[in-house]
Structure formats: C-alpha cells, structure tokens
Symmetry: D3
C-alpha cells in the first residue's frame, strides 16, 4: 500500500500539534498513529475527526473495551487492513485477551454469514420486530 | 422484500422440529424467528447454522449482551434489514438499553467513517502494529 | 423502496424498443424486467448495459446456469434485494434446483465468514500463492 | 499486512494436529494453508470452521469446481486479498482454466455493476419475483 | 423496513428543536427528514452528526452539487435504500439533472465493476502510484 | 498482494496493442496502467472494459474531474487499494487539488457513517422521497 505523506510532530503547525497533544494525553501514550499523521494533511479533517472519535470512544453506557471491540468488528467486516491492525492493538491495550479476541472474531464471522443467508433466502421481517 | 416460504412448526419434519425445540429451549422463548423457518427449507443448513450460532453465542470470555451488540454492529455495517431488526430485538432482550444502543451506533458509524479515511489517505500500517 | 419511473414498451422510443426486443429474443421471454425499464430512462445506459450483459452471460467456458448462480452469489453478498429476487428467478429458469440453491447459499455464507476470519486474524498470503 | 502468529504442525497440540491431518487428507495435499495455521491459535475456531468448510465444500448438487468458483466470486466482491489468492489457487487445482477464470471475473464485475444500477435507479421488485 | 420512533418537532426538547431549526435554516426548508427525527432519540448523536454534516457539506473547493452527488455515489455503493432516496432528492434540489444522474450512475456502476476486476486479477500497484 | 502476469506492449497481440494504443491516445499518455496489462490476459475483457470506461468517462453533463472524483469515492468505499492509488492519481491529473481531495474524503467518510446510522436506526423512507 502506498506510503502517504505523514505530518510528523516536529513538522506540524501549532494547530496540528494541539490535536496531537490532546490525542496523546487522552490515550496516555507518547506517540501518534500514522492515521492521525496522514489526515493531518488537512487540519480541519484532523480536528473534526479527533473531536468525534474522542467523544464517541469515551466510556459511557459501554466501556472502553467494548467500544474498541465493536471498532474491530466493523473494521474486519469492511476488510480495512490498517484499521484491523491499529484497533486490534487498541483493544488489547484496553484489556482484550486472546479468548475475547477469538470469541469476537467468531461472532463477526458468523454474523457476516447469517446476514447473507437472511438476504439470500429473502426472509421477511417478523411482525414483532416491525413495531418499535 | 419477497416473502419466503417459511416452514412452520406444524409442517416441519421431525428433524426440523428437533432444531426448533432446541432453539426455543436455548433462547427461552416459545417462538422461532422467520430466519430459521426460512433456512429450514434445507434441513442440513438449518442444523449446521444453528449448531454454529448456538456454540458461538454462548457466553464465555464475552457475555451474551456484548455478543449480541457485535452482531448488530456487523448487521448494520452490512445493511442487512432483517438482521438489524432481529438482532436489535435480541440485544434489547439481553439487556441493551437506549443509551447502549446510541453508543453502539455511534461507534459503528464512526468506524465506518474512519475505515474509509484510512484507505483513502492510503495510510501505511505503523511498524509497531505489524509484529504480533 | 421507491417506485421508479419505468419505461413501458408502448411508451418507449424506437431505440429503446430495439433493446427490449433483443432482450426478449435472447432470453426467450415475452416480458422485460423492471430493471431494464428503469435504466431505459437513459437509453445509452440501457444499450451499453444490455450489450455487456448479453456478451458476458452467453454460455462459454462456463454454462448459463453457473453464470446465473455466480450472479446470485454476488447479489447476496452485496445485499441487493432486487437483484437477489430477479437473479434467483433467472437461475431457477436456467435449471437451479432447491438442492443447488441450498448449496450455493451455504458456500456464499461460509465464504463471507472466512473472508472476515482471514482479515481479522491478519493472515499473510502463503508464498506459493504469490507467484502466478 | 501484518504477519500473524501461525501454529506450525510441529508446534501444534494433538487436537490441532488432528484437524491439520484431516485437512491434508481431505484436500489430498501435504501442506496446510496459513489461514488454518492462523485460526489454530483458537482450537475451537479451527475445529468448527474446518468442520463447516469440509461439509459445505463436499461435492453434491454442485461440483467442487463450481463451489470453488463461487468462493472466488464472493472473495473478489469482498476484496479479501488472502482469500482471492488462496481460493483462485484452489479453483485452478479443481480444474478452472484461464477461460473459466476470465468468464467468472466478467460475471463478478458485471454483477457488482448492475447491483448498484438496480439500487441507484430504485427499481421496484417485479410482482412475479415476489411470490415464491 | 421497520418504522422507527421519530421525534416530531412538537414532541421535541429545546435542545433537539434547536438542531431542527438549524437544519431547516441551513437547508432553506420547512421540514426535517425522517433521518434526523430518528437519531434525535439520542440528542448527542443528533447534535454531533448535524454539526459534522453541516461543516462537511458546506460548499468549498467542491460545490454543493458535487458533494451531494458524491453522497449518492457512496449510498448507492453501500446499497442504503433510505440514503439513496433522500440524497438523490437533495442532489436534484442542488441542480442535478437527469443527464447528470445517468452519468453519475454509470460511473458508480463501472467503478464497482473495475474495483473487482482489479482485485480479482490481483493487480500490483504501479510504481508511479506508490510515491506521494 | 500477488503480482499478476502483466501483458507488456512488446509481448502483446495486435488486438491487445490496438486497445493499448487507444488508451494512450485517449488519456494522452505514453504508458498503460498495470490494470489494463493484467486484464489483457483475456483480450475480450480488455476490449469490453476499455470500451465501457472510455464511453462512461468521456466528459458530458459531468466533467472529467467530477467523474474521476466519483471513481475515487467508490474505490475508497470499497477499500480497493489498487483503485484508490490509480484513480487518485488520475483525479489529480484532471485537476484535483489537495483541498478538493480533503473535501472529497470528508464527504465519503461522512456518507459511510450516515448510511449506517440510517439503517441502524431503521429509518422509514419519507413519503415525499417515495414518488418519482
């Protein structure tokens, strides 16, 4: 995959560094992922994306580990190589064990299978699921 | 969406009824979803699919609610109308509240967004994510 | 799903009717699917799409039934409701039995599952698959 | 793509070796793909996945070659690099010629195109496709 | 598709009404789409999503019509029925003619086709595309 | 990704060279992308695909740059690494600036997000979008 131009901390503008600092403080780390360094080519995109991610990934009704595992589930379903690598690492950092990973993958695989069985067999939605 | 031929309990063969009974016993319910009634047109598919789902969805390192929410996350990502309806209902039955649902959807939405930013910006996988 | 404006035979221009006639002659039928009537709103799209489909679906190294089943496999994977309905019908017309359908669906489901296991487990491509 | 930890035959537990032996015997080969060696990190996943694949890929109403080509069709649609490589090789081993491959790819490409035309033009499902 | 609980203007809280007012003012309309009324069940999601959409869809280097057509392209690719309907309407409101729509759909269809040909034929990225 | 067999100009048949010549003349370049060289393994696929791409990408109601950006939008949504690389380059050649790219990516990301919110919240299509 092509190597994108990454905006390293020492090259970055004040605006971009402010976001990098917030990422590192929030995630309690001393490095910034390539993802952020790549989208930093457009400071508006960096700012807005981090703002949303920060808000969405804050533990709430769902804890951090659950949120990270959902992120992995989506990334695997979409076959995003970068995202699978980075979010699997984040999930492990949040406490995902090998057993949790194996069960997560099993559910993701099965869901991708039954999603197609449901559409292929043209299953009509049950009445009781229709009213909310 | 076309209505598929559903194999109702009273029409079903002994083999199919055995699976229906196991589904209802395992899920502690007195009904069988249209999904199972549809794939029951092929008893082998019904048996094997239920066997896998039963095994995979048994609480383990991940509890039942987490597994159901992952199932919703995948179904939403894949835009499977039937699956979103049925698994959202299953997740609520397993304890998903409105707040959990909102946070789950927020993560699913954001992950689908950043998956594309990562590929569009052609981000190279960080070295530290490459070695496992 | 919204009802699109369909160009019926008696409303159609000479150019569009020519395509409709060729579809009916090639497929040995006296009706034209809604799909063709919908894209006929742009005669260029209708002409080019039918030209490609006609060429691609002509029996060759693969017979008509195999080609129709592949079409169903893709449509199911993509969750296209219209396409699943129309191509399943076409496959049955080409000779697909209930057993074939069940096996086709089983493969489609399993492939969608193992595709995600492969990416989630970040499996490196075997050396022997790399050289062609 | 990150290199996953692969469980080689000589490192494997008795349980895992039993599955490897069955894979090699069934496929009449003396090697095990990286896919199996990767998911072998979770023996339950390995066992269940192989059990399903073995059952589903056994020739029946559809022969082995047709099943492998359907597997390729799905893998290509989902853009799974590992799966495309390994299943294309399996299809060739099952008898897929260059002509078959070209026709398979043409159908897969066209189906992915018309799936989108159908949804973009918001085509309503024909009455005759609705009743099964 | 199941009807979701929509939060109508007269039922809405002050916070939600403020967002509805901003949507209507920005889009110069006197109604709010079902999409906003549905996600309004979680005011945080409504606020954040509208904030991002408003910022991203503001004309800039790309004009409003181009942005709406890109939105349609993605929605069609993802087979999102709701989104195709609503964004096609928005694109027409922004100036999309029948000819533009036909050309947009042709590109979307072709791109979905060649994306699969590229992965199925396992094409290596040209050297000159690798360096940015 | 595996390196495919590419048919270089000097190895190519007269039929294939004719297509290569047309590609280079139409695109005003002295090279042919790996994509064309790969599908050239099947001259029928090469001819038909180029014919369609040439027709579809000709400026019309939409100009060349808009068409290339739509192509990028689809390729990013589908996570096609080859296509993202080659079409981003084509878009830049057609006049896409860094600002346009950033805005394009922002819309693609947002659309992929709201597509899932719409399906996850099971939003019913507004009446006014249903009639065309």
């Amino acid at each position: 995959m092509a190597m994108s131009n990454l905006i390293e901390y020492d090259q970055a503008s004040t605006e971009v560094r402010a976001v990098y600092d917030d990422i590192m403080a929030t995630r309690r780390t001393d490095r910034v992922n390539n993802f952020w360094k790549a989208i930093a080519r457009d400071p508006t995109t960096l700012r807005r994306t981090w703002q949303s991610v920060k808000e969405i990934m804050t533990p709430g009704a769902l804890d951090a580990l659950t949120k990270e595992m959902i992120y992995v589930a989506v990334s695997v379903t979409n076959q995003c190589g970068y995202c699978i690598a980075s979010h699997s690492a984040a999930a492990r950092k949040a406490g995902m064990t090998d057993s949790m990973f194996a069960e997560l993958m099993a559910v993701v695989g099965m869901a991708n299978e039954t999603n197609r069985l449901a559409s292929g067999y043209q299953v009509e939605i049950d009445e009781q699921f229709k009213v909310r």
